[in-house]
């Protein structure tokens, strides 16, 4: 896999994450669950910024940034803050694995970007009810 392929794969993951975060935010009450709502709002903003950065990084390498999918599988029975937080945690863990893969497949500025995104995803997981892991993004090492 080339660095361009890895960036495109990460961009695809960001499109999916953005879609899901929009869904999670729409199912969360700002007044009843302010901490979760804020975490989801922050997550949405961060993934939107990463999507925009990745588009530029792909274009810098001469690629055509992949577009968002026409539709995504949505989690069934998404009701209640606990369920929303669990799904969002799963999304963030999946993103962490994507960033870790990007670290492995790139170097220089792109690798540093992936490492920073991995750390930020690991920290966001804590706000979504996650606990510290030995190997965020690389669970098979544990």
């Amino acid at each position: 896999m080339t660095a361009l392929d890895a960036l495109q794969a990460t961009l695809s993951a960001e499109h999916a994450a953005l879609h899901l975060y929009g869904l999670y935010g729409g199912r969360t009450s700002q007044s009843a669950d302010p901490a979760l709502f804020e975490a989801l709002q922050d997550g949405y903003r961060v993934h939107r910024a990463r999507r925009d950065q990745l588009r530029l990084m792909v274009a810098d390498l001469g690629g055509e940034p992949v577009a968002a999918g026409a539709a995504y599988d949505e989690p069934a029975g998404l009701r209640g803050p606990a369920r929303v937080a669990r799904e969002a945690l799963g999304t963030e863990q999946a993103c962490a694995e994507t960033y870790a893969a990007l670290v492995a497949q790139t170097s220089g500025r792109q690798r540093r970007w992936g490492a920073t995104a991995l750390t930020e995803a690991a920290v966001l997981q804590l706000r979504l009810g996650g606990r510290p892991e030995a190997f965020p993004g690389a669970p098979e090492l544990g």
Binding site: V103, Q105, Q125, F135, P136
Partner: protein, 174 residues
Amino acid sequence: MPATARPVSRRTAVGVTLAGTLAGSGLLAGCTLDPPAPDPADGAPVEPEPDADVVLLGTVLDELDATTALVAATTERHPGLATGLEPLLAVHAAHRAVLDGAAEVEQDAAVIPTVPGRPRLALDGVRRSETRLVATLRESTGAAQSGDFARALASMAASLTQHLVVLGGDGAAA
């Protein structure tokens, strides 16, 4: 790989020991060492120039071991901090296990760190040491030749940053 040889140092000796084992685990796949070159000039022990990732590994292990020793000493001196610090000891052990593989790593005699008598200051010292370790892991991630090695180091840095957040430290900055 340079053909010149140089005297053995502790760090590179550890690295050479690990190279073969970690290459087997795939983490440092592609790292090879040239056979030792004879040095008729002085007859001193020589070793090949180590792979860049092997040198990085030695640096990470040194920092990891120093931090682990400090956390252990802090836990021993301040048992009231044990609940918060034991997860750090566990994660350090998990990280070292991945870096070690099945290797028998020769270590220098451990330096017993000085732990302040006041728990709050002792905890601050642990936070600083962990933050330094995160910085070393991040720098090594960027410098690693092997992508898999870089991925493992980046994951370790992310893990320790999570632990620092839980510990209430200020080392969460990526």
